[in-house]
Amino acid sequence: MFGLEEQMSIEKLQVKATEIRRDIIAMLGEAGSGHPGGSLSAADIVTALYFSVLNIDHKNPRREDRDRFVLSKGHAAPLLYSALAERGYFPKDELMSLRKFGSRLQGHPKIGSPPGVEISSGSLGQGLSVANGMAMAGKLDGKDYRVYALLGDGEIEEGQIWEAAMTAAHYKLDNLCAILDFNGLQIDGPIVEVMNSNPIREKWTAFRWNTMEIDGHNFEEILRAFEEAKKIKGKPTIIIAHTIKGKGVSFMENVVDFHGKAPTKEQTRQALEELS
């Protein structure tokens, strides 16, 4: 274990997740565009990763034995940037430069920009393959780092996800843990209406993955799932996390339109008030 000096209590994680949600709203309000819904739905999962699970070192972002986090659903970039800033990778002030000309905080993640961003993403469906490659390299080098990849439930409609699912099982990548942000919505509507991909858990099981299903807003369940995943040998794990898109902001929760629409000034104020 390196990086964090002390393990965060569940209460502290909850506070941190609220701070991260506030960052997301403030950044998007300032930027005037971007994706709140899927950033907020995964906020608890990503908070748990960055403040309890990942072996990472903000003073040495490219340390070879670090755990890797791949944000495959790259449109949740504000969430990643906030987690990195809160974790000390770069000054929090910089968050307000999101999506602006000259900023390191591009609209979708760009590798190394800022340090801690492990791979460029934004085109959906590609991150799981990258995570596989990282996990294969770890096995080849006899390193015991772990690789985490966050996928969207709409994203897994991409064929490449299933190519990568086969690869991870074929190469027995038990150092890989995917998390599915199962919020039930994509851009054009509910998943079941746009492209009904059910049954999802059975699909991953059939692809020879270890599967778990949790409440993606319950830190006890999130942390337990990550711990259990570490113990599974010979196959990759996917944690299917039931979440609420827009979680934490009343007027964004389960609202399809807040997938890719930034809050207005008034909505920003209101959301920050709810999140205080």
């Binding site: 760009k110 799981l128 080849l140």
Partner: protein
């Protein structure tokens, strides 16, 4: 008779050599390892070979992930599946991240022959050279292939190397140096310049020889194996000194070597130019000789083009 070796065979042998020298080299293939010749590496270094199955997009992403961890991945399949099926993975995951992935694609061009159009990639130079950060190399023979592969492994950043299926004659000497971004004058001349890549270099040399023997036209012949970054200085010099240019490639005229050369000439030293290339159509089944005649890629086609530009 000069020795005939397919560039993909040279690739297979070079990979094994590379694998011995550099433990970070890993190889990925999408169920074509016997044809792309990565099979030799797989036998020698099974733990560093990743069979990806028929999933080219996943292969490119996996190669990207390996590269982020310091590996030097060589990803191989046929040119159409590498550059076509996985184009966006190459663009967004590999090249935008400027990762150290080497894509070595075989079975480019109509010299694939009998398999027909679905397997004859005539668009890859164009597709690959429009992506920022990408280096594009088209070796003309087995010797240059070996050097291109070794050099690509030694440089940082994404590289696309275009290889063929067919056996091709050895043109270059083993002791000549190879530098990415540098073209080479193979024959000097002052009346016109033929700029070629890949399998067409040999035809360019033959065309130049015939023109010389017939008397009258002394052609300069340039082998441009790096299509990107292209050797602008050498091209501008040739345009300035010979005042006429013909390009020759086994690829569509749109976006290929001819286009790349034209981009340089138009901005720097406009001179009459002709492109020997495939004109806006798909390939067909047949033997390579028949196909090269049908598609206008013979030395006689080059000669005709030279005569036209010289007259202008």
């Amino acid at each position: 008779m000069t020795e005939m070796i397919a560039t993909r065979d040279a690739y297979g042998k070079t990979l094994v050599r590379l694998g011995e020298i550099d433990k970070d080299v890993v190889v990925l293939d999408a169920d074509l390892s016997k044809s792309t010749k990565t099979h030799d590496f797989a036998k020698k270094f099974p733990e560093r070979f990743f069979q990806m199955g028929i999933s080219e997009q996943d292969m490119m992403g996996t190669a990207a992930g390996l590269a982020t961890c310091g590996k030097i991945p060589f990803a191989s399949t046929f040119a159409i599946f590498a550059s076509g099926r996985a184009w966006e993975q190459i663009r967004n995951t590999i090249c935008y991240s400027n990762l150290n992935v080497k894509i070595v694609a075989t079975h480019a061009g109509i010299s694939v022959g009998a398999d027909g159009s679905s397997h004859q990639c005539i668009e890859d130079i164009s597709l690959m050279r429009t992506i920022a950060n990408m280096t594009v190399i088209v070796p003309c023979d087995a010797v240059e292939t070996g050097k291109a592969v070794m050099t690509a492994a030694a440089m940082k950043g994404p590289v696309y190397i275009r290889l063929g299926r067919a056996k091709v004659p050895i043109i270059l000497n083993e002791d000549e140096d190879f530098e990415i971004g540098k073209g080479k004058v193979l024959i000097d001349g002052s009346d016109a310049t033929i700029i070629a890549c890949g399998i067409m270099v040999e035809k360019a040399l033959e065309a130049a020889q015939k023109l010389r023997v017939r008397g009258g036209t002394n052609c300069r012949v340039i082998n441009i194996s790096t299509i990107k970054p292209i050797d602008e200085q050498l091209i501008i010099k040739a345009a300035r000194e010979t005042r006429a240019i013909v390009t020759a490639e086994e690829h569509m005229s749109k976006g290929g070597l001819g286009s790349a050369v034209a981009e340089v000439i138009v901005e720097n030293e406009p001179v009459p130019m002709r492109m020997i290339a495939i004109k806006d159509r798909f390939g067909e089944s047949g033997d390579p000789g028949e196909l090269f005649r049908e598609f206008g890629l013979t030395e006689d086609d080059i000669i005709k083009a030279v005569e036209e530009v010289v007259k202008k």
